[in-house]
Amino acid sequence: MSVTKTETIAEIKARNKELINEVLAVYPDKTAKRRAKHLNVHEAGKSDCGVKSNLKSVPGVMTIRGCAYAGSKGVVWGPIKDMIHISHGPVGCGQYSWAARRNYYIGTTGIDTFVTMQFTSDFQEKDIVFGGDKKLAKIMDEIQELFPLNNGITVQSECPIGLIGDDIEAVSKAKSKEYGGKTIVPVRCEGFRGVSQSLGHHIANDAIRDWVFDKIPADAAPRFEPTPYDVAIIGDYNIGGDAWSSRILLEEMGLRVIAQWSGDGSLAELEATPKAKLNVLHCYRSMNYISRHMEEKYGIPWCEYNFFGPSKIAESLRKIASFFDDKIKEGAERVIARYQPLMDAVIAKYRPRLEGKTVMLFVGGLRPRHVIGAYEDLGMEVIGTGYEFGHNDDYQRTAQHYVKDGTLIYDDVTGYEFEKFVDKIQPDLVGSGIKEKYVFQKMGVPFRQMHSWDYSGPYHGYDGFAIFARDMDMAINSPVWKMTRAPWKRAAPPSLMAAE
């Protein structure tokens, strides 16, 4: 039950500030000083959220963040389906990330498609001592032998690679030459680099620039006849099919999608993208780098869009259409009109059940702001949000376009802070990741995973919004939450955690 409804903005701000002071009190002074910079109460009209971001996590606090390898292999490269991605180093990284991200694709797995497989060099002590380059070369030979229909290979470096001085670039170049110019991409995404997944995204983007784009001869003929309406979807990982429920709308409005980055994507699509007339960018955080590069080098404009919820979808379709002629502009209006009855029906069904419900979010680099509109379309209110690995430009976008006055902002939140905030604020729903899910459900707070869509989805596009609405309703209005306290114990207030 939300306690915010009866409070004024001033009261909410005071309460949130008090809460921040309360959580900071638990830390040693040095840590309190560092963490204080990442927590704030949003003031309307400010150009950003008033928090520091993209800084090192504090040791020992239970950060939710991952690493650069997760950003490269797990996010950017992993979904490219016709290439084989070697998790280069010990077995664990590849094992824990094996097929866990639900990047949907079509293909014959193990024959011409490899997304849900775990290729690893399974480093042993001797590889650490003597180096892994020879092993890597041999792995590439064995891949060629056993998986002859692969269209390329990437080397996703795990921590030891950069520490033991391996030269994966030399191995990749030599093997590429040996295999007739085959695309082989070394990626320096060792987990200790940077402060989160974010640097891994950047490194992966740069690797595409250096080892895919720069290999294409300037005079190479396109595989297809270009049209004025060619666009590429950038930064959609097709989780639960998100890119598909987005693509269908772009095609319906008259555009032609020549590439998906990187969900259900292929090497050919990466290579074709410099021919696009416009890059449409969903996950700004993970793929703005390559979009900027294509703008500078190939003159391709790019445009951010948001396909969560009908309000943002309509706004985005019109924004994308504004880059094209009247045919496309009319197409956008046609698409919006076509789906209006569906959206009206979804909102008529679910809004009465969700009106006024409050939400606290903590997700990666995009969704802490991008999904707010979808909640608002259902009459819900986001009262707290933060990024696992956002940068200042993410917080600027959040402040300028998404969050309301008084929203609690928490960057790289620690386990302790998040539990305490939720316990005190008691939102109707928390949206975060698998590591947070069961913490809050134990507390009796409804929860949806907002990385994996809790094994549902898609959530993008009009088709996805219907699923989003259904899922939020089933989370919040499940009868289970009425049973969490035994009848003979119902008077007891919720308690927090051992550290209290």
């Binding site: 040791p59 824990y96 079509i106 200790f192 020549i258 569906l342 069961y438 699923i467």
Partner: protein, 519 residues
Amino acid sequence: MTQNAENVLDHLELFRGPEYQQMLANKQKMFENRRDPAEVERIREWAKTPEYREKNFAREALTVNPAKACQPLGAVFAAVGFEGTIPFVHGSQGCVAYYRSHFSRHFKEPSSCVSSSMTEDAAVFGGLNNMVDGLANTYAMYKPKMISVSTTCMAEVIGDDLNSFIKTAKEKGSVPMEFDVPYAHTPAFVGSHVTGYDNVLKGILEHFWDGKAGTAPKLERVANEKINFIGGFDGYTVGNLREVKRLLGLMGAEYTILADNSDMWDTPTDGEFRMYDGGTTLEDAANAIHAKATISMQEYCTEKTLPMIAAHGQEVVSFNHPVGVGGTDEFLMAIARITGKDIPEDLTRERGRLVDAIADSSAHIHGKKFAIYGDPDLCLGLARFLLELGAEPTHVLATNGSKAWAEKVQALFDSSPFGKNCHVYPGKDLWHMRSLLFTEPVDFLIGNTYGKYLERDTGTPLIRIGFPIFDRHHHHRYPVWGYQGGLNVLVWILDKIFDEIDRNTNVPSKTDYSFDIIR
């Protein structure tokens, strides 16, 4: 338009509609540069052949779909089995995010664990500051009774010395001098998750027994009548440890479960988040030195721990994840021998009920061929049970299985007529298993969730037993040990057998004659 508000379609059905199918076909044809379907088909068939198998087994460098994880995962598993203990993993922070996710996906439970969050500067200068700050923060925020330190490969490659780092951290006041911070080096490039379990358990016991890293006197062992029990790394730890407690209670044995994470990974939803729940008390961990004997249910999870315990003067006994009648018999007889207590009539009756169930059902299992993969001990336990059932464990594969393990499996095969045509595969992965299933097909496959890819590709029905199980819920709450556990495994196997019989006999006026209601 496929979607509608009244019956919302998600990914399971949405994309099967004609609009999406058309869209996906166009994408494929126009932009993906897909291989010629005939060529894909040719390679797909080739990958089923003995020729491919030979190339596949000739692999020396590449690992594809391994059935093992790294040491640090097992380190965390063991650490959370102690009262009020938080695992502290020294190294890169992404690793910790992975372990926590991995356990939460299996147990559907929170998994608390912290990292020292080492980055590039720590790679250059070492992670001492991370340890000093990290321990201070963890201690202040999460009020643990113990912090169990282990490592990732990063910290191991740069050679951080845990003993001296922890000492320095204590001197700098991160945690009180007397606060328990046991540690273990758990390099990801040595062994697997079962090794990490072993190292951490050994580290914690040594900490308490051998003078807390030089800060306390060593404990003098004064033998008592108790026994220590170690479960090992086990996806069924919740159900199994509770069943073991019941069995030992029925036996009237005095015992200490070491690394008891059965409550930690099965907390109630009642409005309270328990960061710590249950677990072996630190006092019990210390006093475990006085026990008469220590029993390990998994030899390969305690290869270092047991000799250490034996060196302290205890008898040590190990099993290989015993499942079924013979394994449970031996386990209970060992308890009886060590404690001098008789096996009670209640347990004899439970045994009789499991034998009864096997007698009722064995006709459906007899002679069926199975492939098994998983951790070394689990493979041995399951293979032994299958032999008891008159089934053939045709392929037994452990990516983290050693040569010594393979010899043990072979000896097991040799002990039964049903083991005659069975083979063991140490150090192989699930891509090897794929070749085995194509070239020497079996009736059923036993393995973890990743086995579903093998089931899809080879058509071998999968019985999910192992770790991790991500795509079926709550099996970890059931025991597979004890006679009751044997019954659970028997039922899981039988359910799959009967489902397959029904599935293969359900086409009206074609294959419906065997679609029986009594089996």
